[in-house]
Symmetry: C2
Subunit: 677 residues, 2 copies
Amino acid sequence: MRLLPFLVAGLLCCTLEPAVSQQRDYAIRPLPLTAVHLSDGFWAPIIARDHTRTLPHALSECAKEGRMTNFDIAANRTKGKFCGIYPFDDSDIYKAIEGASYSLMDQPDAALEKTMDSVIALVTAAQRPDGYLYTARETNAPNLVNWMGPERWVNERNGSHEFYDAGHLYEAAVAYYQATGKRSLLDAAIRNADLIASTFGPGKRAIASGHEEIEVGLVKLYGVTHDEKYLRLARFLVNQRGTISHPDANPDDPYSTGAYSQDDTPVVDQTTAEGHAVRAMYLYSAMTDLVAMQGDSAYLHALDLIWDNMVHTKYYITGGIGAIGNWEGFGRNYQLPDRTAYCETCAAIGCVLWNERMFRLTGDAKYVNVLEQTLYNGLISGISLDGMNFFYTNTLEVRKDFVHPDLERTRSPWFPCSCCPTNIIRLIPAIPGLIYAQGNGGIYVNLFAGSDATFSFPGNRTVKLIQQTGYPWTGRVTLILYPSASFSFPFFLRIPGWVGPHPVDGDLYHYTDSSTALPGLKVNGQAVPYEMVKGFAVIRRQWKKGDQVEWDLPMQIKRVLANEQVRDDRGKVALQRGPILYCAEWTDNGGRTSNIILPDAASLQTEFRPDLLGGVQVITGTVPALKASTDGLSLETASQPFTAIPYYAWANRGPGEMTVWLPRQVHDVEIIARNRP
Amino acid sequence: MRLLPFLVAGLLCCTLEPAVSQQRDYAIRPLPLTAVHLSDGFWAPIIARDHTRTLPHALSECAKEGRMTNFDIAANRTKGKFCGIYPFDDSDIYKAIEGASYSLMDQPDAALEKTMDSVIALVTAAQRPDGYLYTARETNAPNLVNWMGPERWVNERNGSHEFYDAGHLYEAAVAYYQATGKRSLLDAAIRNADLIASTFGPGKRAIASGHEEIEVGLVKLYGVTHDEKYLRLARFLVNQRGTISHPDANPDDPYSTGAYSQDDTPVVDQTTAEGHAVRAMYLYSAMTDLVAMQGDSAYLHALDLIWDNMVHTKYYITGGIGAIGNWEGFGRNYQLPDRTAYCETCAAIGCVLWNERMFRLTGDAKYVNVLEQTLYNGLISGISLDGMNFFYTNTLEVRKDFVHPDLERTRSPWFPCSCCPTNIIRLIPAIPGLIYAQGNGGIYVNLFAGSDATFSFPGNRTVKLIQQTGYPWTGRVTLILYPSASFSFPFFLRIPGWVGPHPVDGDLYHYTDSSTALPGLKVNGQAVPYEMVKGFAVIRRQWKKGDQVEWDLPMQIKRVLANEQVRDDRGKVALQRGPILYCAEWTDNGGRTSNIILPDAASLQTEFRPDLLGGVQVITGTVPALKASTDGLSLETASQPFTAIPYYAWANRGPGEMTVWLPRQVHDVEIIARNRP
């Protein structure tokens, strides 16, 4: 169904880098972070908070935990043992550098740049003369979880994370180079990649990464060096997957089959989203890059099937993915338990990264719909409103008498395995780059956020665009265009998936109200019809300075139902308004939420509460709630006020119950004889 | 605390064999099945049903499934492929022979004996000239689950079950020899054991059985042959356990550590009941045998610790053991989930076999208390009242909206893995042998069941004993003694553990009523005081013909509470009366049981219902029950009649809810939005 967009001659666009050649690339390119400026009431404070609080906090925690000292030890500048217990701790530093780079693109900060220069000096000093860089083995650290011995490149498939670290090094190096023009880390990355490229590949040693990441890193390295050997190595590594046998494979255990790391089947034969969700997202991202850069209909066919499988059967309404804690990954189709939902924050980030690429490959808004659902809900739920506490897992339900050892009910300032906090600090400052895109001769407005942006067109023409909106709380979006001179181009406005009847593609979720109110569109005050192309409203006209586009998104409280095959959600309802998914939290609902019924007939209102949780739109009503009688020999039902808050904002007011999916009615109850602590 | 009873010169007593020498043996010997005759209202019909229905049914199913044909194929008398999917299918035939042997001891049956002779001819024809006998490998059956290749003795630890089959062969051979005097199967067993003894042992090959059973079989073979090499081999095999390393051991996964088959640690260092429960029971039984036969304080120390751990933390109130389905075995301390209780019928049988041995080793009634709790409840729950349907697992709770793939809610006439039905047919006809025992110069009355028995004493003296009782429904037990001539000996009457305050040893369970009403005792109409020794009431006197002992056991409805550490039972109560543990079943309680509250204040009555379930004492009362309102927006509480039935008799009237542990009050409820099918 989808045309292969790489058949269209594209512009080279490694993320954030302006077009420089006519090589094969994504059909659609993102806007560089330097070309967009956020003034949004929703995102600007989050990005500022990242800059002022989250990033410094993460750097301080990394230092405290010895993540930086490890480089000094590896460089023989300090004596000591490897600090920490994970061989992938280096990657936290690389991700911090990457996040800092995006912050610097948005907002120069000499002190931060100086700090980063010194961190980079630490890193590069630890590199061996031949380019090797992996402090766990350089410091010979047998106290590690998953310690795999001192020999280089050994046991990559069993947990060494050597290639994972390398991939994050490359992403950081490219970002810092793009932010500052400084080559020191980029040169280190190139030396490392050259060492790996000289060791592995056709006619050399074969390997598949244990935790995918190096592949996307290599593509980014190609983006700045234009050295095609990095693309060839990335493709070689991807194609090694699924080529080793698993004699003791048990289909229910992805560790035993290799499916844990998408290593059970050659990638072109993979048809479903399987295994560790973060690994999966990074692999699929790399495959998407390779389709864009080199073309590969077999990869694209696999990606289409996998995406459909994930979004249609393994995607939480919060946008979280990876239901099963045992392998931090995907369960069976429709296996989406709420109370034990794992939904690693990193997996939500990976989901955004992959869907952003799929959009740029295809120009299809359905990928941005998924990106938006994840971004506004199950991704930013991973960080507290104070910017310094994190969820590693993002549950959909907390009830006081249910405790699971692997699942969090409150956020933590840090984790021994700190992948999620450092992933957040590289994702948040990159959000402005997700709002717009450019391709097919025009401008794409993907997300709705107050901002201004400048687009370059051939012939030295530019278009400045100002977006004004109260999104996600209000639906009115005003876009004012200032072309350098009048000219004609298509203007693509995403019609959000959440307008219905399904919040995202497929019938995994649907609204009880099946009508779809398409957004209204005016240009210069006049209602205009619009063409719909791949989920975008397209206006093609001769644009002139000051043209004003008004996009009226219908913000209504929507009741969401899940597909009957999702066992945990049967007979239950969730609330969504615009892109925001709601939950009920204890503190607004008489101290409980697991006792609430949300009848279909209950009327619901909405209001903006500037005082609450940094300012949120709440949903309110009156609902029945169940309570045991004092003597414990009967049940009482009483009406009580009901308040739902945005899911992303839960767990900022102390521990207690939280529910996303509320029962529409009571079919039965299970008696709890006493509180289980 | 316990004296080592093997220091007392004992009488040789392999089960069912009269004393013949002064070798070291158990301090206490069982009464041969030929010396006891049951007339009991409770057990006699069950044993008769076994003879007339269960055994023929099992033989027919074994034949239908090809279990017998496999021997013919192995003997090259029939062409074909191994029938069935398990390498241990031979053992079902051996267990059927063993069960038939006990039936024949109780009641000669020429037709059954003829059938057994022909089955034995089948078996012996399949034996290789050197003694090897294991049809899975003889027929080269790679279609098996756990097929481990054609080479003999290979992969025993990984599932071949070669030694398991051998053990059941030896037990069957000894039993059939004792029942009929026929040596054909015994000779085959000896040839097989000699082959194994010549292959394995000090200076030869080392091995530990994958599924323990050969060890108890070897001890029985020693019992009839008096060849000590069988004892030596049994001890060698037991001591091989825990001697191999498990480099990838994960302490939460008993498969990875070897704990699944009690093979993680040398047995003398084992302190807790771990792994597969049936394997564990057979190992501990063998160790108990070896303590009795050879003495071993290190074994005994381990057994004491393991027994305490099992009975004090891993024992269901039903007498079931092995909480966890994943490995058919023990969970952590106090991990006794009701709804997913695995409680394999074979494990309950193993629990009886081990505790019977521990009693005979020590003379302590606490082992018989456990034996009784298991026997009357979680063991015979494994067979239907019609004698032809079985539970493999014995749950403690069925609720209609909870389904678990590994757990049964209804009985089946047979299973592909049919260990439980054939274990039942070797246990049921052996029950008369559990009632009495002889040792320490006197007679032990362990169980209360209408019967007569004849005890032999030195000097050609005998005592005939007649027991009359309505047990387990009534508590009055009358015992009339007929010594061949008046003489003095101690008469040991077990004081049942269930008189309280704990139904079995330890504080895992206790009654709400903490008072203990000791049974009253009269001799010839006169109340007499009694000495208490290891849980027995002992009367030492000059016994004369017709002396009548009346033992008045206080049958009261008892409310049982579990230790607070058993999470699933907190705030809940179970009902026991005498040895019988009760449950509520749907059909007596308005179609449901999961909605019932059993308040502490609810008064309970009991009555015998001859029409119900073959005649049972029920417990009745009036209780509150919860129900969702028609509109599903509130909960209603209504009083309704309550009936509890003996747990062993549930699931004989169609599928539906069943609950052992009822909530004493509602602390909270979990809302079920709609029926999960």
